[in-house]
């Protein structure tokens, strides 16, 4: 999706707010929202890639005006609705629909340490052969998918070198749409800064992206 989230290389976003450190959460609601996303995620009605795509679909003007957590609120509401965990009526009234038995939350406080310590690995044991090898020159495809992708616009149709094969990972482009994990090799690819940005870039500098087999031109 050629959305506002795909910011790499854009101009005009102003100075870096280098002094904005503050606490982990700037207001209590940010922490509550952060925690609700994790806790509701334990229902496994969506996955991390679907959640990211929900954030990408926040309308561009809102995306830019909202703070990080406000943007996440907008996306979280949409994914709660589309997953069926809450209805629009419930959201509007702030009350559960009448006559529904109370559910049992899958994530309780005693499960948090294990969840935090284990996380949700994206590696898969599927015996998928790599299409590329370390040291190989590769060219990314010039694709313009309307749906989710982790191939940023600035790195499409560009040549780089595979420097590491990370093994087999879930492919987010399909996983985000609940079209399957399509496990495949993930590589770290080094692009010279000049390949991406032209002569204005420093000759020796480089940018690395982690890219899946499906992002490369054949052969």
């Amino acid at each position: 999706m050629n959305g506002i989230h795909d910011m790499g290389g854009m101009h005009g976003m102003g100075p870096i707010p280098v002094d904005e450190n503050g606490g982990v959460f700037h207001a209590p609601w940010e922490g509550r929202l952060f925690a609700m996303r994790r806790a509701a995620g334990a229902w496994r009605r969506w996955n991390i890639d679907a959640m990211r795509h929900a954030i990408e679909q926040v309308p561009p003007a809102q995306y830019l005006q909202a703070s990080y957590y406000a943007r996440h609120y907008l996306a979280f509401v949409e994914i709660l609705l589309s997953s069926g965990l809450v209805t629009r009526e419930e959201l509007a009234s702030g009350r559960p629909a009448a006559g529904q038995p109370k559910l049992t939350p899958p994530l309780t406080a005693s499960l948090i340490p294990e969840m935090v310590a284990k996380g949700f690995p994206a590696t898969r044991g599927a015996p998928v052969a790599p299409r590329m090898r370390v040291g190989q020159r590769v060219r990314t495809r010039n694709i313009q998918p309307v749906g989710p992708t982790r191939l940023p616009r600035y790195a499409r149709g560009k040549s780089g070198t595979v420097i590491r094969d990370y093994g087999v990972f879930v492919f987010p482009d399909t996983n985000a749409q609940f079209l399957g994990e399509k496990p495949q090799h993930l590589y770290c690819v080094r692009f010279s800064a000049r390949e991406l940005w032209g002569d204005q870039a420093d000759a020796g500098d480089c940018v690395h992206l982690d890219l899946w087999d499906d992002y490369f031109e054949p052969g």
Partner: protein, 210 residues
């Protein structure tokens, strides 16, 4: 144009009353039994108090003190970081990249705000800002200058755009003049910003706690 601080405060108003809406959503989700209130409390507490850049600083100090550990860290970061007890959510797959006299590394996530939670905690505002995300890849040296970091022309800048589930941690160079410090004292020299790579030179005296 308003100052950055005012700018951020304006952000709080999109959507309007977001704080109230989040409160209302929490009461709905708790009442429906979708989330458990004490689980929310525990999650907030974990990321406010237990997991933060001190974890990463200990990893860096160990690498500075123990060459064999440093090699393990560069070869298999997941395993080496787990030796110190850190692992898990949003850092399941870690890679450590080393600064040297001729190489400087800096980490960004242009598409969202991926960040190595187990070793650095949750990302600061600037890491999540549109300004950082947009410019770190096209003008890393200019971005670093805004942090007061000047990279000499002979030093190669390597940007790592976290486009997948791999999370990157920068191993800064050990400052000169701290040979007498033990590992715990060394850890106090290491800042979050150096482990993201927006700061290059660490001071040989403890930094203010981040």
């Amino acid at each position: 144009m308003a100052s950055d601080v005012d700018h951020d405060h304006e952000h709080q108003d999109v959507p309007p009353d977001v704080a109230l809406r989040v409160m209302s959503l929490e009461s709905l989700l708790v009442e429906k039994g979708i989330v458990d209130k004490s689980a929310l409390d525990a999650l907030v507490d974990t990321y406010e108090r237990k997991i933060g850049p001190r974890n990463g600083a200990r990893v860096v100090a160990r690498a500075w003190s123990d060459p064999a550990y440093k090699q393990r860290l560069l070869d298999d970061a997941d395993r080496a970081i787990a030796e110190l007890g850190y692992a898990g959510m949003q850092g399941e797959h870690m890679v450590v990249v080393e600064n040297t006299p001729t190489v400087h590394n800096v980490v960004v996530c242009t598409l969202c705000s991926c960040y190595p939670w187990p070793v650095l905690g949750l990302p600061p505002v600037w890491y999540k800002s549109s300004a950082y995300r947009s410019r770190a890849v096209i003008d890393p040296r200019g971005v670093l200058r805004e942090f007061g970091t000047s990279i000499p022309p002979g030093v190669e800048v390597r940007v790592w755009d976290s486009t997948a589930e791999i999370r990157y941690l920068v191993l800064p160079e050990r400052p000169a003049g701290c040979a007498h410090l033990n590992e715990e004292e060394l850890a106090r020299l290491v800042t979050r910003d150096a482990m993201v790579g927006v700061v290059r030179d660490l001071l040989p005296a403890p930094a203010e706690s981040a």
